[in-house]
Point group: C2
Chain length 166, copies 2
């Protein structure tokens, strides 16, 4: 199985897309998904699409993102969609954590692929925020869909380690 | 936020648990989840529980598995449950890939925690295999649950990159 190492340029400029500030700019530590932007696992870049304010972007699945031979791990796809949907909720002004994540894998993604993605908040009732997302292959085929349910949390409590979502 | 680096001993022997052979022993490359066993992200060990043949084990969430400040990324939890459930399906004799993954996050998991987990195949009809899983905090509290739907695939086709799960 070949393990492509081509430079994915996930953060290349795109007409009508404005880069989201990185976690570090918000005082956060590197994340499980986007914390290794030069590594061989996942390289992710998030943008805001000007026309609808949805969070969109690109992810490159490197040779260390493997699940089935030669293909992206389902868990790596789920992890990207989780972070993407959380970002969409935060961008919409909700300080949330995920309580439920549902992912459907429609097409296998070969290692070395740079996929694109998009997410939008679909409902917001009290503390509960629901987000929907899609990931696409370079040819436009739908590779995966995600649905996330998030709860607005008290960040002070979270930072003190008092979080309970039960 | 402290980032504990204590040795988690995820692969320490456990009465009544038999280690699963690593992916490498099956001729597979390191995976997204379990491919960095000395790293600071995830350290995972899988066992078969002798009494019921369920796949069980331990996962340590290191400082680079962060999502919310000081806590494991929801995507890291989902990724571990995805691989765990796939392993349970394979151990039961099914060569599968995931088509659907549903995870509920019940309790936040602090970085530095060694959690335990268990999975079992709950149904098998034709090509469709359903697996259920749980992850527990050290005090026994339920941290997350997973449900996975898998499809039996033709490995020859997968290795040729012909996989389509749609």
């Amino acid at each position: 199985v070949s393990a492509p190492h081509t430079d994915p340029h996930v953060d290349a400029p795109h007409e009508g897309w404005t880069p989201l500030p990185p976690r570090e700019a918000l005082g956060l530590a590197p994340s499980f998904v986007s914390g290794d932007p030069q590594g061989q696992r996942l390289r992710v870049a998030y943008f805001v699409r000007d026309e609808d304010a949805h969070v969109v972007g690109r992810v490159w699945f490197g040779p260390l993102a493997e699940g089935p031979p030669g293909h992206a791990h389902g868990g790596s796809i789920a992890a990207v969609l989780d972070e993407l949907m959380g970002s969409a909720a935060w961008l919409a002004g909700h300080r949330v954590v995920a309580v439920k994540l549902d992912v459907e894998f429609k097409k296998a993604i070969r290692l070395g692929t740079t996929a694109t993605f998009a997410a939008r908040v679909t409902s917001s009732e009290g503390r509960k925020i629901v987000v929907t997302s899609e990931m696409f292959l370079p040819d436009g085929a739908l590779a995966a869909t995600g649905h996330g349910t998030f709860l607005v949390i008290d960040m002070e409590r979270l930072l003190k380690g008092e979080l309970s979502k039960g």
